[in-house]
C-alpha cells in the first residue's frame, strides 16, 4: 500500500534546513 501511495503521489522538491528568516518560520509565527 505504501509503495503504491508513494509511486502515485511522487512529487519532487528540495528540502533545506529551516532558516529563522525563512517563510516556514514566518508562517509558524502566524499560527
Amino acid at each position: 500500500e505504501e509503495v503504491c501511495r508513494q509511486k502515485k503521489g511522487k512529487s519532487l522538491y528540495k528540502i533545506k534546513p529551516r532558516h529563522d528568516s525563512g517563510i516556514k518560520a514566518k508562517i509558524s509565527m502566524k499560527t
Binding site: E1, Q6, G9, S11, Y13, I23, I27, K30, T31
Partner: protein, 205 residues
C-alpha cells in the same frame, strides 16, 4: 458508499501522505479565490471562521474548488453561524493552509525550497512580507490602471482581494488568459488521480 464528488485538501494530503506540488498549489489558490470572489459578487458572502483548515477546502470532480464552513457535512454548507472574517483574513488563512499543504510531512527543522514566485505569493497572502522593501521584486498583475513609467508603484506590496490573488496566479502562466482552463484542469486531474488512488487502496484493503 457511492462515488464521491468532492475531496477535501486534507483528504488528499492524507491519502498521498505527501505534500502537494507547486502547480497544484497555484491551481488551488486560483480556483478557491475564484469561488470566493464569485460568491461575493453574488452577494452570498458566507460567514467564515477566522481560522480555516485544509478540511474546509473542497476539490470537486469538475475541477472547482470551494471553501466550506468548519465542521459541517457537505449538505449543511452555509447553514452554520460564524463570526464574519474579512476578505484579507480569509486570504491570509488560505495562504497558510496552502503553505502547510506544500510543507506536509516535513520535519520542523526542515524547510521546503519553493520557487521564488510561489514563495512570494504565499508571503503576500499570509501577510508575512518584510516591510523593509527587500522583497519587492516581481509582480505587477494586481495593480490595474497604473502607467508603465511608474514601475515602483506597479509592484504589488500587498494583496487585498481574491482578484489580486487570481491575477498573480494568472501571471505565473505564459498566457494569462489560459488561467481559468489551466487551473481547472490541474484541479480536475488532482481530484481524478486522488480518487483513483483512493479506489485502489480501498480495493487492497
Amino acid at each position: 458508499e457511492g462515488p464521491r464528488d468532492a475531496l477535501s485538501l486534507e483528504d488528499i494530503l492524507r491519502l498521498y501522505n505527501q505534500p502537494i506540488n507547486e502547480e497544484q498549489a497555484w491551481a488551488v489558490c486560483f480556483q478557491c479565490c475564484g469561488f470566493l470572489s464569485t460568491e461575493d459578487a453574488r452577494g452570498r458572502r458566507a460567514p467564515r471562521p477566522r481560522a480555516l483548515s485544509a478540511a474546509q477546502i473542497r476539490l470537486w470532480r469538475d475541477g472547482a474548488v470551494t471553501l466550506a464552513p468548519t465542521g459541517e457535512s457537505l449538505h449543511d454548507a452555509g447553514k452554520l453561524e460564524y463570526s464574519r472574517s474579512t476578505e484579507t483574513e480569509v486570504i491570509e488563512s488560505l495562504g497558510i493552509i496552502i503553505y502547510k499543504a506544500l510543507d506536509y510531512g516535513l520535519k520542523e527543522n526542515e524547510e521546503r525550497e519553493l520557487s521564488p514566485p510561489l514563495e512570494k505569493l504565499i508571503d503576500l497572502m499570509a501577510n508575512t512580507v518584510e516591510a523593509d522593501g527587500s522583497n519587492d521584486e516581481g509582480y505587477e498583475a494586481a495593480n490595474e490602471g497604473m502607467e508603465d513609467e511608474d514601475d515602483e508603484k506597479r509592484k504589488i506590496s500587498a494583496i487585498r482581494s481574491y482578484r489580486d490573488v487570481m491575477k498573480l496566479c494568472a501571471a505565473h502562466l505564459p498566457t494569462e488568459s489560459e488561467a481559468p482552463n489551466h487551473y481547472q484542469a490541474v484541479c480536475r486531474a488532482l481530484f481524478a488521480e486522488t480518487m483513483e488512488l483512493y479506489t485502489f487502496l480501498t480495493k487492497i484493503k
